[in-house]
Amino acid sequence: MKLEASAIGFGFGRGVPILDGINLAIESGRILGLTGKSGRGKSTLGKILARHLLPTKGRVLIDGAAPASSGFNPVQLIHQTAIFAVNPRWKIGRIVSEANPPDEMLMLALGVRRQWLDRYPHELSGGELQRVALLRSLTPGTRFLIADEITSMLDPIAQSEIWLALLEISARRDIGILAISHDLALLDRVAVQTVTL
């Protein structure tokens, strides 16, 4: 499968567009790096690819066709700060089951512990919550993952554990990943190619 950004443009109001004529392609089972200075629109592009935002120009295509505008999206987005991406009134068990019941193997691979399931998001650390957000996003239907600075706020050990797990999952389940980061050393290690915006 191939996720494509075709001549994507985006701007707020009538100001200078943040993105203009961006073309990008992510293939299944491969990790593409995306870097660039702050304010260049990396996260905005990630949001557009994951249908969190609509582009003002251009199209997002999956295997050459426009994906449905509603229903389950095979492109899932993971944020830098997972706490904003989870309902603060839901327990972790409910959060990870929102799309599908979590896979035991995946739980193990991501290091999500059973005892976390009965806790609320504020009772977990940033790294633990990021693992929870990843587990929630990696449903059987997920084909692409937009990982927007997912480990930039974590310690090096947690960062390494999460990326090792993601590399394994991406290869095993044929999931394409767009790794957005300022950390070029990290992108060198995980991505097959890095694009600078």
Partner: protein
């Protein structure tokens, strides 16, 4: 150099007692007393006794008697029970109207949003009491008319708060994630949005409650509310006006005082709850 910081001793003090907790205690006691007494009294105590007309407070009649020899305490309790019932109903209906309109406004089309906003501005732009009198008068007075009049004039402020809350929640990351999982609008409204609105709705209800009681008393006092025969606080106050100059102070003082205590308690509880649900509101 070692700096020793001594912790002040934690002695119980009334200053530290949360006013909302004290108000809740008084309100619960008042509610229990009023409802129990109203139930126990039945229609006894409301009977006329022309032998005992306009008697000042005594051990036999703690709040004195009125111009027909009726016990003012019994009538005040009955009146307060009626006021609480009216307040409960009116505030409840107001919260339902506010919630429905906020959902329509924030989740519907731009036209629906504009219409609801216009409706809010119109209702808030009109003088409050005039609207209340007009609606109550048009509906022919009585308990139902007062409940409807208070309910249909008190939803705008809460609608605005709930609308803003829904608009904020609609763009929350976890709602967008849920939408990306293909969850329906109904699922998102029920599981992600509504639970966040409940605290606002409860606070809105508790704050509307004393307001509704005051309006019921005000409307009745002006003669546009409940029937003159009913033992409502507004009627008691209205009747007492004619006797105040004659020195019969107990006719107005006690019902008025109990009304103020009830209203004040619920107002403090409402504000306490508001601070609890929005910690920023409590900071100076």
């Amino acid at each position: 150099m070692t700096v020793v910081v001594e912790k002040p001793p934690q002695t119980p003090s009334l200053d530290r007692a949360n006013p909302a907790l004290v108000a809740t205690g008084i309100a619960v006691l008042l509610l229990a007393a009023v409802l129990l007494a109203a139930w126990l009294l039945g229609s006894s105590g409301l009977a006329s006794d022309f032998q005992a007309r306009l008697q000042p407070p005594s051990w036999q009649h703690l709040f004195g008697t009125d111009m027909f020899g009726r016990d003012v305490l019994a009538r005040t309790i009955k009146g307060l029970a009626l006021s609480l019932r009216v307040g409960f109903l009116a505030a409840g209906i107001s919260v339902v109207i506010a919630t429905c309109l906020a959902i329509v406004s924030a989740s519907g089309s731009r036209l629906a949003d504009s219409l609801v906003s216009l409706f809010i501005d119109m209702t808030m732009g009109l003088p409050h009491l005039v609207l209340l009198i007009l609606i109550s008068f048009a509906l022919g007075g009585g308990t139902t008319a007062v409940v409807i009049a208070v309910a249909v004039t008190h939803w705008p402020r809460l609608t605005r708060i709930l609308r803003a809350e829904i608009l904020q929640l609609r763009n929350a990351e976890y709602v967008i994630v849920s939408r990306n999982f293909g969850k329906s609008r109904w699922f998102i409204a029920r599981h992600h949005i509504l639970p966040h609105l409940v605290p606002q709705m409860i606070v809105g209800f508790v704050l509307l409650f004393p307001h509704a009681i005051l309006h019921e008393a005000g409307l009745t006092f002006l003669g546009f509310g409940l029937e003159p025969g009913e033992p409502a606080i507004g009627i008691l106050l209205s009747e007492s006006m004619r006797y105040l100059l004659a020195g019969k102070w107990w006719l107005g003082l006690f019902p008025g005082l109990l009304l103020v205590v009830a209203v004040l308690c619920f107002d403090i509880i409402g504000n306490g709850l508001r601070v609890l649900t929005d910690p920023k509101a409590g900071r100076p």
